[in-house]
Symmetry: C2
């Protein structure tokens, strides 16, 4: 099958490289600037503590028109680039094309269907600590690299089954979900709260694990976000807050959100799409969300980065 990776950063670059290397899929990388130049000259490199791979030559371009219609678009850009990236997808999309969204937040699927027409959006979640280390080089920390995907309707589809079977052939642990909306929300609720508390304190999760005031604030943030999910008629799994607290309190102390890494590096923040989104939805439903309001206000001055 023909696959376009729109946004060849950590997530897109890594999973695209696995597919290019281990399957006969026709994989195209869309990238820009120094990263694109490096991929063209030296290939796309994946580095990890246990080894690495190089895809060379890699089919890479900054112009989707060069690629033409594909079966699947893997949309893996930051939330603040979603609108622009989805616009860029037009030449990649035929009637049957599925666009799988791998973002941190919620709502990208609606944007895809708004911009490209109803029926293209597929929900996706990537669990993997990946980032661009240098132009052309993706760093994989640890060995977690897992995908969950699902048609928004919950139905099975030929296009998605073909993609999942390509992923599995590429030795990517991939689950197909019949309740992707719920799973997207669960990741969103966790991530907004986790990003919030680590950015608020400017510390990895270890600080929150030790400091009662931060721990209580984190739990409050989870509860607020669950209340918003309820109001949006999304039912999370039973005991979600308790399970998520247990998970977060058991993480390695040095774990931190990518938003904190972005903050530390003066890069733009996904703030408006995480706690900001919760505050916005809460306002609509007249729900009180002081913890997310604090997370949002705390990062607001740094949202556009220090460039």
């Amino acid at each position: 099958m023909k696959i376009a990776i729109m946004g060849s950063g950590g997530i897109g670059g890594y999973f695209g490289a696995q597919l290019a290397q281990k399957t006969d899929s026709d994989v195209w990388f869309v990238a820009r600037g120094d990263h694109l130049r490096a991929i063209r000259e030296n290939g796309l490199q994946i580095k990890s503590d246990v080894g690495g791979t190089v895809v060379f030559p890699a089919q890479a371009t900054d112009d989707p028109k060069e690629i033409g219609p594909v079966d699947i678009v893997v949309l893996a850009v930051k939330l603040y680039s979603v609108n622009e990236a989805v616009e860029q997808c037009r030449p990649l999309v035929s009637e049957e094309t599925g666009v799988i969204s791998f973002q941190n937040g919620i709502g990208t699927e609606e944007r895809i269907d708004e911009i490209l027409g109803v029926g293209h959006a597929i929900g996706g979640i990537a669990y993997a600590p990946l980032a661009i280390e240098a132009p052309g080089i993706i760093r994989h920390t640890g060995n977690l690299a897992r995908l969950t995907v699902g048609e928004m309707s919950g139905a099975r589809s030929e296009r998605l089954e073909a993609f999942v079977s390509a992923c599995r052939k590429a030795e990517i642990e991939t689950a197909m979900s019949e309740s992707i909306t719920r799973e997207l929300w669960e990741k969103f609720v966790f991530l907004a709260s986790f990003s919030g508390i680590t950015c608020l304190t400017r510390q990895p999760i270890g600080f929150t694990q030790q400091e009662q005031s931060a721990k209580e604030l984190f739990e409050q943030a989870l509860k607020e976000a669950v209340a918003v999910a309820d109001a949006e008629a999304v039912k999370l799994e039973d005991g979600f807050v308790g399970k998520t607290m247990a998970f977060a309190m058991g993480m390695g102390a040095s774990a931190q959100s990518s938003m904190l890494t972005d903050l530390q590096n003066g890069r733009p923040l996904e703030n408006a799409w995480l706690s900001g989104k919760i505050v916005e939805l809460a306002r609509k439903h007249k729900i009180c969300t002081p913890a997310h309001k604090a997370f949002y206000a705390a990062m607001k001055p740094f949202e556009t980065g220090s460039d």
Copy 2:
């Protein structure tokens, strides 16, 4: 009258200098380290945009025993130094000595009476943007310099009337209050919230004036602190939250809390005595204070400064 200034930083140094220069009071400055050395060598200098003064020689020491009993101790140290400073006051205190506390928080008066014996503590509030600029030099920003003092009982006393009349002779605007506990709490409620929002956002108040999310969080913080005051049986003036919001929204955009200045300079923070105190009292009364919990958690990692 004989006056000891315990802690000759911005507040103590400035008001002590006014008293030393413009009255016949026997004023002693207690200071330490480089600041003490500079005062001994060059006197205590007050600099402001509209001029300045020098008190030279200034009676300065780091050993209260050299001073002996005084009529009034002006206690003007940071909240985290209160216990140590009150202990140091012992040689300054005879049965009649009044110790006027000029701190940002609440509870210092209780500590004074606990350590030195009941009846010494006098409540005090200083409204003045003052700070040590360099050893021996106090910087006054703007021209606000006002004191409010009051016996904790609300009664008039000879010792306090003598002090107030000396202050007025020194051209310091000084009010004597019969409800100092209420006024201390009003300043505390404002300052904990103002310090909280400016430190959380790491921006002067202008940011909060412009940004709705921060403004709402600030108002929420005021309401939480008022609820705590209520629970502590302290009745603030009617319409306190509205008046304080109006005041804060009308401040110069560049105004910021001294805690933010301390944060920016890597100095220890009064966090535990401001939002931390509110969170602590709220827990006792089972009141929900998520805004102050967020303020507190946000500053907790930086509390001890970066020395």
